[in-house]
C-alpha cells in the first residue's frame, strides 16, 4: 500500500495548527497533540523524521518555518510519502509565487484545503501536476473548466487532462515568440583531507527548462555524454568527433521524457510541459573539474594565539569568474580578536557561527588570493581539551562553467506548424557541500 495518509497537518514552529486535514478514520482526531507532546516538545525533534507513537507512524519534514506531518496507521511507503510532501510543497510554491512559509499558508489556507482535497483522496495521492491543477483551481478562486458558459472555457477538454495520458501539457497553447531556455545547474560536492587529497567528490546536476512553445512540440536534446555519442556514431556510421566526452553515472528524467527511446537510442526526446520544469538530473563521480583549490595552514601558537593562512586558487579559465564566493574558516569558540590581511575581498569574524567569513564578490579565474589572520584567544581554565577543527566550507557560483564538463550539443524542436524557435542555454556551477579539512 503506497501512502494512504490518514491525516496531514501543517504546524508552525510553535506547534499551532495551520492546516489540518483528516482523510481516514483509522487514527484519532488528536494526533496533532501526540505529535506536539511526543516529538515537538521533546529533544526528539529533528533526530529522526519517522517516528512511531502508539499504532501510528508520523512522517515529518520541516520546510522553512513550517512542519508538515503525515500520519499513517498502516505499513506505508516512506519514500513515497516524503516524495509526496516535497512535490506538494513545490505545487504550493507554484501557486504562492515561489514562497512557502507560515504567512503564505495563513493567507491561502482555503486554497490549500482545496488543493489537499484534489491531491489526496482518502489518503491516496492523486494528480499533483501544477499545470493541470491550475486549470481548475486558481488563485482567484475556483474556475470550473466544465462550466456551461463558453467564455469561461479556456480549455475545452480539460477533464481528459485532469486525468489523461499527456497529463503534463494541455493542447492549444499559442505563443508569438517560441522560446526555450535551458539552465544547466551543477552542484559540486567535495570533501578534501587536510593533506590535500580528495576523499570524496561528485557532481549532481540538473537541467532546468523553461518552455514557451506553441502547440504540441517534440523536442530532442543532445549532450556530450559518452554513451549517447557512441550510439550516435554507430547509427550514422561516422567516427565520433574529438572533444571532451563525459560519463554520466546515473540519469533520471522528468516524466515527459520517452524512457524507452532513451534506453534504446540514448536520445532524450520529449513533449515538454508548458513553462518551467526540471527535465533531467544526473550524477557524475569521474573526471570532475574542481573550480577551486583551498590550501589552508592553521598554526596554534601557544594557548592564546593562532595563525590562519588560507590560499584559494581558482582553476577555471582566466576569462571566467566566480560570483558570491564565501569561505568560512572555523575558529575556536573562545576567539577574542582577529586581525586580517586579505589580498582580495573582505573578511570578518562572525562569532555566532564561530567562523572567519571571507567574502569575495567577483573572483576571476586563474588567480589565488590569500587570507592571513592572527587569532587571539581568551585563555580559559577548561580548555585543556584540544580544539577539534571543523572543515572549511565554501560557497560559490561559477557561471558558464560546468564541473562535469557537460555541454549541450543541440536542442531540436519539431512541431506540425514548423515554426522557428529560439534556444537559450546557460551553465552554472554552484557549491554543494564543499568542505576542506584543516
Amino acid at each position: 500500500m503506497p501512502v494512504a495518509a490518514s491525516a496531514i497537518y501543517f504546524l508552525n514552529l510553535r506547534g499551532d495548527v495551520l492546516i489540518n486535514r483528516l482523510y481516514r478514520d483509522d487514527v484519532g482526531g488528536n494526533m496533532v497533540d501526540a505529535f506536539r507532546t511526543h516529538i515537538m516538545q521533546t529533544k526528539e525533534l529533528g533526530t529522526c523524521p519517522v517516528r512511531q507513537i502508539g499504532g501510528c507512524s508520523f512522517f515529518y519534514m520541516r520546510i522553512s518555518n513550517v512542519y508538515i506531518v503525515i500520519v499513517v496507521s498502516s505499513n506505508a511507503n516512506v519514500a513515497c510519502a516524503f516524495k509526496f510532501v516535497v512535490e506538494a510543497v513545490s505545487l504550493f510554491k507554484s501557486y504562492f509565487g515561489g514562497t512557502f512559509d507560515e504567512d503564505a499558508i495563513r493567507n491561502n489556507f482555503v486554497l490549500i484545503y482545496e488543493l489537499l482535497d484534489e491531491i489526496l483522496d482518502f489518503g491516496y495521492p492523486q494528480n499533483l501536476s501544477p499545470e493541470i491543477l491550475k486549470l481548475y483551481i486558481t488563485q482567484e478562486g475556483v474556475r470550473s473548466p466544465f462550466s456551461s458558459k463558453p467564455v469561461d472555457r479556456p480549455v475545452p477538454n480539460a477533464t481528459l487532462q485532469v486525468t489523461g495520458a499527456v497529463g503534463w501539457r494541455r493542447e492549444g497553447l499559442v505563443y508569438k515568440k517560441n522560446e526555450v531556455f535551458l539552465d544547466i545547474v551543477e552542484s559540486v560536492n567535495l570533501l578534501m583531507s587536510s593533506k590535500g587529497s580528495v576523499l570524496r567528490c561528485d557532481v549532481t546536476g540538473k537541467i532546468l527548462m523553461k518552455c514557451f512553445l506553441s502547440g504540441m512540440p517534440d523536442l530532442k536534446l543532445g549532450l556530450n555524454d559518452k554513451i549517447g555519442l557512441e550510439k550516435e556514431s554507430q547509427i550514422k556510421s561516422r567516427p565520433t568527433k574529438s572533444g571532451k566526452t563525459i560519463e554520466l553515472d546515473d540519469v533520471t528524467f522528468h516524466q515527459c521524457v520517452n524512457l524507452t527511446r532513451f534506453n534504446s537510442e540514448k536520445t532524450v526526446s520529449f513533449v515538454p510541459p508548458d513553462g518551467e520544469f526540471e527535465l533531467m538530473k544526473y550524477r557524475i563521480t569521474e573526471g570532475v573539474n574542481l573550480p577551486f583549490r583551498v590550501l589552508p595552514t592553521i598554526k596554534e601558537l601557544g594557548r592564546t594565539r593562532m595563525e590562519v593562512n588560507v590560499k584559494v586558487k581558482s582553476v577555471f579559465g582566466a576569462k571566467m569568474f566566480a560570483l558570491g564566493v564565501v569561505v568560512k574558516i572555523p575558529v575556536p569558540k573562545q576567539t577574542a580578536k582577529v586581525n586580517f590581511q586579505v589580498t582580495s575581498g573582505r573578511a570578518k569574524y562572525n562569532p555566532s557561527i564561530d567562523c572567519l567569513v571571507w567574502k569575495i564578490r567577483k573572483f576571476p579565474g586563474q588567480t589565488e588570493p590569500t587570507l592571513s589572520a592572527e587569532v587571539e584567544l581568551i585563555s580559559t581554565i577548561t580548555e585543556k581539551k584540544s580544539w577539534t577543527r571543523p572543515p572549511i566550507q565554501m560557497e560559490f557560483q561559477v557561471p558558464m562553467f560546468t564541473a562535469s564538463g557537460l555541454r549541450v550539443r543541440f536542442l531540436k524542436v519539431w512541431e506540425k506548424s514548423g515554426y522557428n524557435t529560439v534556444e537559450w542555454v546557460r551553465y552554472i556551477t554552484k557549491a554543494g557541500s564543499y568542505e576542506v579539512r584543516c
Binding site: 503506497p2 495548527v17 495551520l18 489540518n20 483528516l22 481516514r24 478514520d25 484519532g28 488528536n30 529533528g46 533526530t47 529522526c48 523524521p49 519517522v50 502508539g54 499504532g55 507512524s57 505499513n75 506505508a76 511507503n77 516512506v78 519514500a79 513515497c80 516524503f82 516524495k83 509526496f84 516535497v86 482555503v110 484545503y113 482545496e114 482535497d117 483522496d121 482518502f122 491516496y124 492523486q126 499533483l128 478562486g141 470550473s144 473548466p145 466544465f146 485532469v162 486525468t163 495520458a165 497529463g167 560536492n189 576523499l199 570524496r200 561528485d202 549532481t204 553515472d249 546515473d250 533520471t252 528524467f253 522528468h254 516524466q255 524512457l259 534506453n263 550524477r283 566550507q393 557541500s433
Partner: protein
Amino acid sequence: MAPPAQSQKSASPSQPSGKGEVSDVKMQLRQLAGSRSPGTDDAKRELFKKVISYMTIGIDVSSVFSEMVMCSATSDIVLKKMCYLYVGNYAKYNPDLALLTINFLQRDCKDEDPMIRGLALRSLCSLRVANLVEYLVGPLGTGLKDGNSYVRMVAAIGVLKLYHISASTCMDADFPAMLKHLMLNDKDAQVVANCLTSLQEIWGLEASTSEEAARERETLLSKPVIYYFLNRIKEFSEWAQCIVLDLVAKYVPSDSNEIFDVMNLLEDRLQHANGAVVLATIKMFLQLTLSMTDVHQQVYERIKAPLLTLVSSGSPEQSYAVLSHLHLLVMRAPFIFSSDYKHFYCQYNEPFYVKKLKLEMLTAVANESNTYDIVTELCEYAANVDIPMARESIRAVGKIALQQYDVNAIVDRLLQFLEMEKEHVTAETLVLVKDLLRKYPQWSHDCIAVVGNISSKNVQEPKAKAALIWMLGEYAQDMQDAPYILESLIENWDEEHSAEVRLHLLTAIMKCFLRRPPETQKALGAALAAGLADFHQDVHDRALFYYRLLKYNVTVAERVVDPPKQAVSVFADTQSSEIKDRIFDEFNSLSVVYQKPSYMFTDKEHRGPFEFSEELGNLSIDTELADNVVPAQRVEANDKDLLLSTSEKEDNHGASNNSSAYNAPSYDGSRMVAASQAQQDLVSLDQPPPADVPASLAIDDLLGLGLPVAPSPAPSPPALKLNAKAVLDPNSFQQKWRQLPLAASQEISMNPQGVSCIVKSSGSSSAYARSFHPLHCFRWSSPELQVLFLRTKRGRAFYLSCGLYFNRLCPNLVCLRDQSWKKMIE
C-alpha cells in the same frame, strides 16, 4: 448534540476559546442565509473562511452547522468546497444534522457540471455517518457510470470510503464487481488506478472472511490482469505507477523468459525522476529475481547507480528513507557498495539521523580492501565536536574491528582514542576494547598496557565503568594494580549508583581473588559484605551466591566464576534471518525504516511492549492442574523441539505445557560467555546444594501470598540440566506463545506491597512500581520451579512480566519490556 470532545482538547491554550466569535459568525450567517442581494457570496466567503480557520485551530464550530447548511445553496464553487469541508468534518458528530446536508449533496451529484458532481460525491462519501449509507449507494452507482472521468475517479475511491463505513452495504450493492469492470475497461488511467487501490484494500480486508474475496485478490495477480497494467503503465501518473509496480512485485511469473520480459519492459522506470517510482521498480526487480541467484546479483549491480542518486538528491528525509533501504540491501549483499564507500562519507552539515545511517553503511560495506580508508575517515568523526556523532563513529570502528581478521591497525587506532582524554571517547572505547578482547584475546597484552593507564576516576558512565572493571578482573594477573584499583572502587561502593557496575565489581573481585588471593582477600571480604547489605536484589543475591560458593568449595567456585574461556567467534545476531527475510519482503515500506516486520507495529497484539488482549488478561488457572509436576527430562530438551512437541502432547499434558515455553535462556549480551559456562557448571553439579533455601522462601514472602514462612527443607531436586545454547528471540517466542493452547490459568490478586517488592527486586525503577494500577498475576509452581506472571498496565501499554524461579537457585525476576525477552538464571 454533544460537541466533539477532541476538537476542544486540541485547542492550544494560546488560542482563544472562540465562543464569542462563533456565536457572532452564527448570527451573521443567519442573516445571509436568505439574502439574495449581490455581493452576498463575497460576504459568505469571508464568513466561511472564518469558520474554517476556527475549525483548523481547533475551536469547536459545530454549533453553526445548520446555518452553514442553509447558506450552502450557492453556485459559487469555492463556497461549496468550504461548505463540503466543514460538513465532512462535523457530520460524524452530528448525524442528525448531517441528514440535512444529504439533500443538497444529492442534488449537487446531479449537477450538470462534472466538477460539482465529483465534489459533491466526494463529500457525500466523506460524511462517515453509518445510518446515512443508504443515501450513498444510488449516487455512487451513477457516479461509477458517469460520462466524465473526474466523477468516475472520485466514485472509485468513494466505494472504498463506503466500504469503511459499512462493509456489508458496499458488498451487497456489488460495488467491487463494478470496480473490477471499470478497472479493466476504463480508458482513463487515473480511474483505473483508483479502482485498483480500492479493490486491493477491499479484497485485502475481506479475504480473511470470504473465500470469494480471497480468490478475487488472487485474480488481481493473474497474468492477464498484470499484463493489462504493464501495457498501460506509461499512461499512469507517477503515484499510480507506484501502486501498479507494487502489485507487479507480488506477481509470480511462470518462467524465466517472462521474468526477463517484465524486467525489460520496466527497466526504464529506474530513470524516472520520482524516487518513489524508482524504489518501487527496484523492489519489483528484487522480488522477481529472488529465485534466480545470478540474475539477482546482476539486479544488484543495475540498481546501484539509481540508489546512490536517490541518496544524494532530495531532502535529508528522503535520503534517510533511501539509506534505510540501502542498509537492508547491504546486509544481504555486502559486496554491492564496497567500491562506492565514499558515497557514505558524512557531510558536516547533514542531520544526525542521516549521518548515523551512513556510519552503519560504512560499517557494513567495510572489507579487506577499503577498511583502511573507512577507518581513517571514521577516526575523523571520532574527533568531532558533536558527541553522539563521535560515539557512533567509535562504535562503528569497533564493529569493523569485530568483522575483520586484520585488526592490527584498528586496535592501534582504538588505543589512540583512549589517549584523546575526552570522557565520552574514553567511555565508548573502553566498551569496545572489552568486546574486542573477548574476540581476540591475543591482543590483551597491548590493550591492557593502555587500559591500565586509565584512571578509573575519569570513567563515569556505567557501561564504560563496567567494561573497565571486567577487564580489571579478567586480566588481574597482567595488571599490576588491579587488586588495588578494585579495592578503591569497593571502598566507594555506596557512591556507585549503577547496579550493573556493582555486579561487575563483585565478579571482578572474585576473579581477582582466585588469581591473586593474598592481595585481594581483604577487598573481597569488603565487597561481599557490601554486596550482602546492598538494597538491590540481584547484587545481594550474587554476593550471597559467591559467599556460599566460596564457603562450599573454592575449586568449585573457580570453575563457576573463572573457568577457562574460549574466544567468542561470532557475536550473536540480534535478528533472526527469518525476520530479515520478512523485512525484505516488505521492501519499500516502513518495516525497513523500523527494521522490524510490519506485524510488529501494525497488529494490535504486537504493538507496544507486549500488549495483551482482555481475554488473556483474565487468565484463571485451575490450581489443581497446576500442581502437576513437570517431568524433569522435559526441561532438558532443547526448548525449540519441546515447543514443537508440546502441541502434539497437549492432550495428555494439558496443564504443564505452558511452562516449556519459558525455558529459553538468552543471555545478557555482555556476559554471554561467563554466564553460560557458569550456568552449565551450576546446574550440573552432582552434589545436592546446601539444604536451606532461603531464596525461594523469601520469594513466597515477597509475593505477600501469606504462605507460612517456617523454614522447611526443600525437596532434593532431581538433576536439572538446561540447554546452554538455547536462544529464543522475542518474536518467535511470541508466536509460539500464541500457538500454545490455554492450558491452565489462574487469577490471584496480590497485595500491592508484595508486588512492589518484586518490582524493586527486578531492578526496575520505582516509578514503574508506583504506576501499578490494574493488575493480574498468576503463579504456577511445581517442586522444581515456579513461574510467575504479572500483568500490569501503565498508560495505554500493558506490560507482562514473567519470573521464573528455580527453587534451589536464587530468584530472578525478569521483565519483558519493549519486547526484549531477557532472562538470566544465576
